[in-house]
């Protein structure tokens, strides 16, 4: 679970941007609520701007598409996370930085 060898983090390449709406998540102060949503379990899926917090299992939402090396913050559990690619599945996921 790490960067693929030779993977290039191109921060300049165009990323898709997303308008975040309120999903009813109310576990953080109001102005930050749009950045999170509840994980609905099996059957739920993550958009390219979303990642699951491995510490508290809340979905973190970014206003832009996430890429390897991005850092995100999970306010519900106060964890700092970095986006990595799971070598086994090829999908992006968040790793806690303790």
């Amino acid at each position: 679970m790490d960067l693929f060898e030779g993977e290039i983090i191109d921060r300049e390449a165009a990323r898709r941007h997303y308008v975040l709406d309120d999903t009813g998540f109310d576990e953080v102060p109001k102005k930050y609520r749009k950045f999170y949503r509840q994980w609905r379990g099996a059957g739920d899926s993550l958009a390219p701007n979303e990642v699951l917090c491995p510490v508290c299992r809340v979905v973190i939402r970014s206003s832009r598409e996430l890429r390897v090396g991005d850092r995100v913050y999970c306010m519900p559990c106060m964890s700092r996370l970095v986006i990595v690619r799971n070598a086994a599945t090829g999908t992006l996921e968040a790793r806690a930085e303790h």
């Binding site: 109310d26 102060p29 964890s79």
Partner: protein, 294 residues
């Protein structure tokens, strides 16, 4: 480190918790919500619901004693403030689960005798292992025991109970939702704050690993008692077959809990919690110790 600690703010807790998911609630649920009539009409379900709720009260009393006891053992101000908010969270949990016992018909003058009657001795031993560390002002072991082992267990137990209750008992499911939100902060604190301290004090690892193994054993023994001697699942099945209640489903961890035998549910819960322990402890540099199986 300063950045991590700055998140432990009372203001942030106020805006997230009392002004967030607890706004407009009373004792953790929407005003006016009631326990289902079925729980009062059916003596088997009534007794089992009281038994389960007593274990929640006991677990939360332990968490209250641990989080309050750790405040003065914390090495810096920000952790003391976080533990002060956690202390209030745990006191609230004690109150809402105690209030549920009253809602279920337990008389206030019979509260302590009811708790004594139904208390699971293995859960009491689980608490004693943790509180011995807290009494010694061992901050690192206390936080691992409280915020990773106890809270990690509570996180999964509450999630499983929420899946089971979502359709059957919206009042209790709402109560559980608020406690799950609280647990997110508590497990986050355990992982985020303790990882660095373990690196600074590697000599503490062995004792912490022994504590985790011992607490895990008593946790599994509590689960075994709770599931193997629980008549509620069979009673719900009987009521479904007699068309007294609608067939219900409760999906969690990829299985339908409502379709499972109690022993199979015990295995799902135990395996989920132990797997979570292993992952969480690994992230802070502690080697998970496989406990004996009761």
């Amino acid at each position: 480190m300063a950045d991590v600690l700055s998140a432990y703010s009372i203001q942030s807790w106020l805006e997230s918790c009392p002004q967030g998911y607890l706004e407009h609630t009373e004792y953790g649920h929407a005003p006016g919500e009631r326990e289902p009539e079925l729980l009062f009409d059916n003596p088997v379900l009534h007794a089992e619901t009281i038994r389960t709720t007593v274990q929640l009260v006991l677990g939360e009393r332990c968490a209250l004693a641990a989080s309050s006891g750790l405040i003065n053992a914390a090495p810096e101000e920000a952790s003391k403030r976080f533990l002060a908010t956690q202390t209030l969270d745990e006191a609230r949990h004690v109150e809402i689960f105690t209030h549920r016992l009253y809602d279920l018909g337990v008389k206030r003058e019979h509260l302590e005798s009811t708790i004594q009657h139904y208390a699971n001795p293995n859960l009491v031993k689980f608490a004693e292992v943790l509180l011995e560390k807290v009494d010694r002002k061992d901050f690192i072991a206390g936080v691992v025991g409280q915020n990773i082992v106890l809270e990690g267990m509570a996180f999964s137990v509450f999630e499983m109970m929420h899946a089971l209750e979502a359709d059957l008992n919206p009042k209790f499911a709402h109560t559980l939702s608020g406690t799950i939100a609280d647990e997110r902060r508590h497990v986050g604190f355990g992982e985020n704050r303790i990882g660095a301290l373990i690196r600074q004090h590697p000599e503490k690892k062995a004792a912490i690993e022994r504590m985790q193994k011992e607490m895990s054993y008593y946790m599994l023994a509590t689960f075994a008692d709770a599931f193997r001697h629980n008549a509620a699942a069979a009673e719900y099945k009987r009521l479904e077959q007699a068309s007294v209640i609608d067939e219900h489903h409760a999906r969690w961890q990829g299985v339908d809990l409502a379709e499972m035998e109690p022993e199979a549910m015990e295995q799902v819960l135990a395996n989920t919690v132990l797997k979570e322990f292993k992952i969480r402890l690994g992230r802070i540099g502690i080697d998970y110790q496989t406990p004996l199986r009761p």
